[in-house]
Symmetry: C2
Subunit: 265 residues, 2 copies
C-alpha cells in the first residue's frame, strides 16, 4: 500500500453528536510520544463546530506524523485532507513526506493553515470563528520524536524537556493532574495512564468532552502505530483506572485533617 | 460600632502586584456557607484589572452578607463601596440591610451593577472590558443561608442542593476535585478542606492565582464571621494539606496498573 493513501490514515472518529468540545493532549518523553484526543464532536452550528481528532500519516519505516485538531471543523478538515491527499505526491508546500525534519513539517502545516484561513476566513467570520489549531507530533528518521503546537496564526511552539506536554481545546480541567504527577522521565505506559486520568477529570467536569478516547503511544524509532488504542467508556482498563483514581482521591481527602474552626457562640 | 461602617467590612486584600487572575468559590451546605477567594491582584493595565476579594457586611445578629468579585476592578469596587456606604442608611436600592431576603439583596446588587455599567461602561469599553461579576452569599435572619452568582448583566442564579457550589474567575483547574469529593451533606470543615485543595490545584496550574487565600466558614444562624481565616502559603495547616494531598495523588497514580502496550518490533 503506497504511503499517503487514505488507508495509511487512522482518523480517530467516534459516533457523532454526543459532545461539543475538544480536548487533545500531546506528551513528549525520552521513550517517545503519548498522544490523546477525545471523540469527534459538533457544535450546534456547523460553521463553528468544534472538533477533535487524531489523524496519523505514516511513511513506512521513514516517518510517522500525527495531527490532532481543535477549532473550526471546516478549517482543520481542509488542512488535514489537503495534507493527506498530497502525502507522497511530491507537491511542494503540501507533501509532508518531502521533509527531513519535523520542524519543516510544522512550517508546512502552519503555512497551509495560513493560506486556508486567508482564503476562507473572510467568508466564514460573519458566521463564526474560522480559526483552528493543531498539535503536531511525530518522528522522521534521523531525528528524535518531536511535538509542536501550531496556532491559528500559522506560527508554532515546540515541546521541550522542561515544557514537555502541550494541550489544545478544553485544557484546564485536565492540567492539575499532569502538573502534579507527570515527569519528563516517565515511561510511555505511565504517561498514557496519566493522560487517561487527565481526560477523566475533563470528562467529569465538562459534560461536552466525552469518550471514546484515542491514545497513541509512539515508541521512539519504532515508526509504528500499533499502540493506538481506543478507550470506550466501558473499556475494562479505563473503568478500573477511573474507579481506583476516584477511590484514591476520596481516601486521600478523608485522611487529611480538617481545619479547626472556632465553635460558634 | 454601627452597622455599615468601614470597620464592619473585612476586605480580603493581600499585598498587591503578585498575581493577575482571580478565583472565588462559594459552597452552600446544610450547616452554612464556605466562601473562599485568593488574594487581590492587578492586571497590567488598571482599567482592565482583574481582582478578587472577599467583602463582608455585618448587621449584628440580623444579617451577614458577603461579596466576592471578579472582573473590572473599578466596576466591582464601585459596587462594593457604594453598598458599604449605604449599609444602614436606609437609602432605597442601595442599603442591603433594608431587605428581609437574600433574593432581594441579589436584585439590589444586580441592579446597582447594571446602573454602574450603564454609566461607566461606554467610557471604559475602548480601554478594556468594564464587566464584573459577583458571588453573593450570606444569611438574613428568618431565612437559611443562600448563595448567588450575579452576572455582569445584573441577572443572577442561586445555588441549590443539586448545584451547591458556584465559582467565578479562573474556575476550571479547581473544579475536578470539587466534582469528585464535595457533597451537599459535607460539614463546613470538610468543605473548607476541599476548597483549599481546589485553590491549591488552581495555584499549581496557573501561576497568576496565588495565596493568601481567605476562607470564611459561616455557620447557619451564627451571624458571626469569627471563622474567617487567611491562609498564607506558609501556613502550617495549608502546607500540610498540600503535601498530604500531593503524596496521596502520587501514591494513587502509582498504585493504578499501567495500560499494556504491545512490544514494538
Amino acid at each position: 500500500m503506497p504511503a499517503g493513501t487514505p488507508e495509511n490514515w487512522i482518523v480517530g472518529r467516534a459516533p457523532e453528536g454526543e459532545t461539543d468540545m475538544t480536548y487533545c493532549l500531546g506528551i513528549l518523553l525520552p521513550e517517545g510520544l503519548v498522544l490523546a484526543s477525545d471523540s469527534r464532536t459538533n457544535a450546534g452550528v456547523d460553521q463553528i463546530a468544534t472538533v477533535r481528532k487524531l489523524a496519523i500519516l505514516e511513511n513506512p519505516d521513514k516517518a510517522v506524523i500525527a495531527l490532532m485538531s481543535a477549532g473550526n471543523l471546516a478549517t482543520t478538515q481542509t488542512v488535514v485532507t489537503t495534507l493527506k491527499q498530497a502525502a507522497g505526491t511530491g507537491t511542494p508546500d503540501r507533501d509532508l513526506f518531502l521533509h527531513n525534519s519535523m520542524f519543516d513539517v510544522a512550517q508546512t502545516v502552519g503555512g497551509l493553515l495560513r493560506r486556508i484561513l486567508e482564503r476562507d476566513g473572510p467568508y466564514v467570520e460573519r458566521f463564526g470563528d474560522p480559526n483552528g489549531t493543531f498539535l503536531l507530533a511525530g518522528q522522521i528518521r534521523g531525528e528524535p520524536p518531536r511535538l509542536f503546537q501550531v496556532y491559528s496564526a500559522g506560527n508554532f511552539v515546540e515541546a521541550t524537556p522542561r515544557n514537555h506536554y502541550l494541550q489544545i481545546g478544553e485544557t484546564k480541567y485536565g492540567k492539575p493532574i499532569l502538573d502534579r504527577a507527570l515527569r519528563f522521565d516517565n515511561g510511555l505506559a505511565r504517561a498514557a495512564k496519566l493522560a487517561l486520568i487527565s481526560f477523566d477529570a475533563t470528562i467529569r467536569s465538562n459534560l461536552s468532552v466525552g469518550p471514546p478516547i484515542d491514545v497513541l503511544c509512539y515508541q521512539t524509532d519504532s515508526f509504528s502505530t500499533r499502540n493506538l488504542i481506543k478507550y470506550k467508556n466501558s473499556d475494562p482498563y479505563f473503568t478500573e483506572l477511573k474507579q481506583r483514581y476516584s477511590d484514591g482521591i476520596q481516601a486521600t481527602v478523608d485522611a487529611i485533617p480538617e481545619p479547626r474552626l472556632c465553635p460558634e457562640g
